[in-house]
């Protein structure tokens, strides 16, 4: 039985634990959490030395048993220790014994695929979301031009220096099925930002919100928060996804703060996960589960009430505080 020991094997080989993805898959009709480990190029010379030291013949006696190696057990020579393993206490979802083998497996789940997102209009109190269209570009250009900093952590696109390349980009975004983009329309009927649903996995009922681009007109407004509420409602309640992901450049402090404020749970950081715009990118991963949504929804609704803002529009209760209390 290999995989029951895989986590220990990964640590023993010198992989570094990075996180648990909750409800990451539906495998053979059962819910599956996935543990992620990695080894970096910079770590390999050290791991390689340990492998080679461990694999040399002197490390085994004549019957092939492990010899004591420099006063330590051979597994220690490979960099594995009980302490390392027990230091990792993952937050996992529930399990039950496999009916035939007794190995723990995730609970059975409905394996019916979820629908893909569609061209809906999601109306809120402060504005609405609608399918991004090519003709949204003039509003968006007006909102984004001169604010190059909004593109810094977008891994492949922007900033744009001219109208032609920007309108072409919006047209291409609007035509894409994955990422699938929605424009954020304010109360004055202007497009002030967009966001997308991406890495859409109907079989696993996993979906990600990303390429979130808020112009200064949308940043730090009730509509910015309501946008997240409307989209999460759509994903969990209308489409029936069971895992909603948020990922960002680990250096993007604003995005990390936003994820926690909306009620996503931090799951881990993938080191050297991408090369973005010629630079190393570590990725921070967050998720919200279907079982967590009702509590998050209540907090969103409480925060979004008109009564939560004074005459200057300043909030009375913070959403970050509401969600921090819930977690």
């Amino acid at each position: 039985m290999l995989n029951a020991s895989s986590r220990r094997a990964a640590l023993r080989f010198g992989f570094v634990f990075e996180g648990i993805f909750r409800q990451h898959m539906i495998a053979k009709g059962h819910s599956r959490d996935t543990a992620y480990f990695s080894m970096l190029d910079g770590e390999w010379p050290d791991r390689k030395r340990n492998f080679e030291r461990w694999l040399q013949p002197g490390n085994f006696d004549r019957r092939g048993r492990l010899a004591v190696f420099n006063g330590a057990t051979a597994d220690c020579a490979l960099g594995f220790s009980e302490r390392t393993a027990s230091a990792i206490i993952p937050a996992m979802t529930d399990s039950e014994p496999h009916p035939a083998t007794g190995q723990p497996i995730g609970l059975p789940v409905d394996p019916t695929p979820a629908p893909r997102p569609g061209a809906v209009t999601l109306k809120g109190r402060y504005g609405r979301l609608e399918k991004l269209r090519p003709d949204h570009w003039p509003d968006l250009w007006d909102a984004f031009a001169g604010h190059d900093h909004v593109w810094t952590y977008i891994s492949t696109d922007g900033p744009f220096s001219d109208v032609a390349s920007f309108s072409a980009f919006i047209a291409q975004r609007a035509a894409s099925e994955d990422p699938y983009a929605y424009a954020v329309i304010d109360a004055r009927d202007r497009a002030v930002g967009y966001l997308t649903l991406l890495r859409i996995n109907p079989q696993m009922r996993v979906i990600e919100v990303g390429h979130v681009l808020y112009s200064p007109r949308l940043q730090r407004t009730p509509l910015g928060t309501e946008t997240q509420y409307l989209l999460a409602c759509y994903v969990f309640e209308t489409l029936g996804y069971r895992r909603y992901e948020w990922k960002c450049n680990a250096l993007n402090a604003a995005s990390r703060r936003a994820a926690l404020r909306y009620g996503f749970v931090y799951e881990g950081t993938f080191r050297q996960h991408m090369i973005a715009k010629g630079r190393n990118r570590d990725d921070a991963w967050f998720s919200m589960l279907d079982s967590e949504w009702p509590a998050r929804k209540r907090n969103f609704e409480r925060w979004l009430e008109l009564g939560n803002f004074d005459e200057q529009g300043v909030q009375k209760i913070s959403l970050a505080a509401l969600n921090a209390a819930a977690q």
């Binding site: 039985m1 290999l2 959490d33 996935t34 480990f37 080894m39 970096l40 497996i105 402090a253």
Partner: protein, 171 residues
Amino acid sequence: MMSKQVQPVGPVVNSTPASHPGPVTLARRFGTVVRLAAARTAAPLWRVFGGHDEIWTYISGHGPFTGEKTFTAWLEGHETQSDPYYFTVHDLYGRALGFLALMHIRRPMRVIEIGSIVYSSELQRTPLGTEAQYLLARLCFRGAGLSPLRMEMRFAQRFVAARRLAFRLRL
């Protein structure tokens, strides 16, 4: 008004894409790791896998197989795939004892994953089992010419507590 915040960015790295793994044979002290050849390895693999349904529990997409025929058909379907890219592990007698794959290969990002690892009971807890990991990691980081930045490992986050200690290498 636009908020002027400090935006830290990562260091500049070499963005030349890494190579895709090729049909190599990696030989060392305890055995070899070779590109999957279903016609040669299906029968010997079935000899060590058959009757051990528990090795498939945490493999998300396939297994256990009802017989050699369905297993062979499955294996044949994977020998031409480039991702996952399967290798088999052979002992010094040339017997195939397990397989593993390089997968989710993202050459532009220089990221690769080791997965779909199925070790028969004859490969589990042997030096060869460890050596196979060493050989593939070495291939990924150095042998492919352009080293990946990152190698990943992931699996179902479930395990039998009683087996925690059992993994220690014992022959």
